[in-house]
Subunit: 255 residues, 3 copies
């Protein structure tokens, strides 16, 4: 049904792995490497050149690497200079600008806009329409829910950008704004529609505009069980490396 | 000008009604039915397969139905398993995932992202960039303004999703967040940038983060007339079934 | 690498300037004029017809003008009736609806959605996913940061739309909402996640939901220098007409 080999542009310098499938109308520019078993759906652009391409006659496209076993859904644009780890799963119409690195098994959903020069760890998930400003650093097992924004300019407009950072296992709920240079610790929960103006300590839940500490995340009760839902890895493992395992045992082996 | 029959992919199993027009570069996959007089503009994907397609060799595309007299604007993606009623009008780059049902004469504007397994009634309008989480139920004559979000996970991340619901004639202003499982009554008004954390009663206006009841919507005055603007069907009928008619009489016949 | 002249549709009535480059899969409809040295990247639609096209057999596409030295990035849709000044720079997947005018050297970033009948001055910058409702007026040297929204319906739904306006040099931070008909003065700063419900005076910083005046913008200190960062033109000139010049001298010559 899909993958009819129609109207594909494939650069002669692209290196395509085994069992790779490429969708109709997709464009793959110079110096792209695609790992084995990866699927690039229709209408994608991989290895999009940076701005310099339009001005510099000697422009050479930086290497773009998409790891094996990835699924890049339709209409996604990935710039040159990106290095995206194995098992990447994207939604539709994702934009990932230059020099972005992602670890293994990340999810980057529909309409996510990563502005470039960002790093994302392993097993992290960015849901629909998340906006990641330049210089943002996102750890491992981090969930960022729809329409949340990472900013980077403390005094707009300026040339002194400061990226925000989020440490492992943290959860950022929908429509939240993370101000420039803010550090968010491990196992935090940023409530929906928060404006995070101060650093957030490990295991802290914050809410509001400006966001204030509400409680220790471990006090957040699951009404169905009467017990805390956090740290969440004890209660959620779908797609995580401890799936089907005892999290504590896994953690001991993977500190 | 448009509709030059260039670079179209049309599955042999698609059923195309009378007077249907299909735009350039559009892809129509297996088991799609398009009603009479419907226009599918350029660069659309209709009947996009679900995730199982990439893993299951015996995958069969679920039926996708687009009603008659619809206008699907360019770059829209509609997944298999959707059943979209007559007179649907979409903006550009809309994404409607699997098993979404819409009634008659809905508007789904540019960049709206419907995550699947959702239902929307008749004559409802979702404006630009509205995000509709899985399991959301939207009634009839509901207006959802840009960038509002329906969420579904009370304790993220978890596997116990609870969709929100909005009853008939309600208005959700821009940038609002509806928390998981929330019920919003009839004839309500959710003010701009609200975070709705509690159920909302019929005829109630709420505002803020968290949103609090402000007034009875019928007390919301139109400064131009000095009278209440709500219930709005007495003052707005463009595209509604009571257009050009007395709303009370129409309502008596259509309770 | 790019610009291989594949699958392009170019109306016979389009007027294409010197040294114009057009990307693969791009569609240019009737009555479009593109200035010299402008680059239209792949998968764009220029001169998209208005709604009347689908109903009116005598429809003629209004003139669409894109000034010289512009760069329109991929997947952008520009409607007929737009007049976009020289040096326009767009991101990807921008939508600009009918009868929108922009001055010189504007930036309109990825996923911006301009709803039509809007005006934007010179050297203004709309960052990712900004939504500009119909009838909005944006001045010169204005910065609007991601996901901010200009609304236009005081009593939704109604037919009495009132656009908002923003005067020169103002800064609107991320995720802000500007209510219908609001006037924002010169040299203002709207903090992140603000809901602007009242007019904002010149040189005023506002924040919150509803947004309240916080301070005179000139009291906003740059921690790195210990001095005020505002008015910002004294500290930021990249891409501005006073770049590399003394701002006061430039201002004297360009009052």
């Amino acid at each position: 049904m899909k993958f009819n080999n129609r109207n594909i542009h494939l650069s002669a310098s692209a290196k395509i792995g085994k069992n790779v499938r490429i969708g109709d109308n997709t464009i793959i520019y110079d110096n792209v490497t695609i790992g084995d078993n990866t699927i690039i759906c229709n209408d994608c652009v991989i290895g999009e050149p940076t701005n310099a391409f339009y001005h510099d006659k000697n422009y050479k496209n930086e290497a773009t690497i998409i790891g094996p076993n990835s699924l890049i859904r339709s209409h996604t644009i990935i710039y040159s200079g990106c290095n995206l780890g194995a098992g990447l799963n994207t939604g539709h119409r994702v934009t990932i600008r230059e020099n972005t690195c992602t670890g293994q098994e990340c999810l980057i959903s529909t309409l996510v806009d990563i502005q470039g020069n960002c790093s994302i760890g392993n097993f992290s998930r960015l849901y629909s329409n998340v906006h990641v400003g330049q210089l943002t650093k996102i750890g491992n097992y981090v969930f960022v829910f729809p329409y949340s924004i990472f900013t980077n300019d403390p005094l707009p407009p300026s040339n002194n950008l400061k990226g925000a950072s989020v440490d492992d296992y943290s959860i950022i709920a929908v429509h939240s704004v993370i101000l420039p240079g803010i550090s968010i610790g491990k196992h935090t929960l940023i409530a929906a529609n928060s404006t995070v103006t101060r650093n957030v300590n490990d295991f802290t839940m914050v809410a509001g505009n400006p966001a204030k500490p509400i409680k220790d995340i471990r006090e957040q009760i699951n009404k169905l069980t009467g017990k805390s839902h956090y740290p969440w890895p004890y209660f959620f493992d779908r797609g995580m490396p401890w799936e089907g395992k005892d999290y504590d045992k896994w953690l001991t082996k993977n500190p």
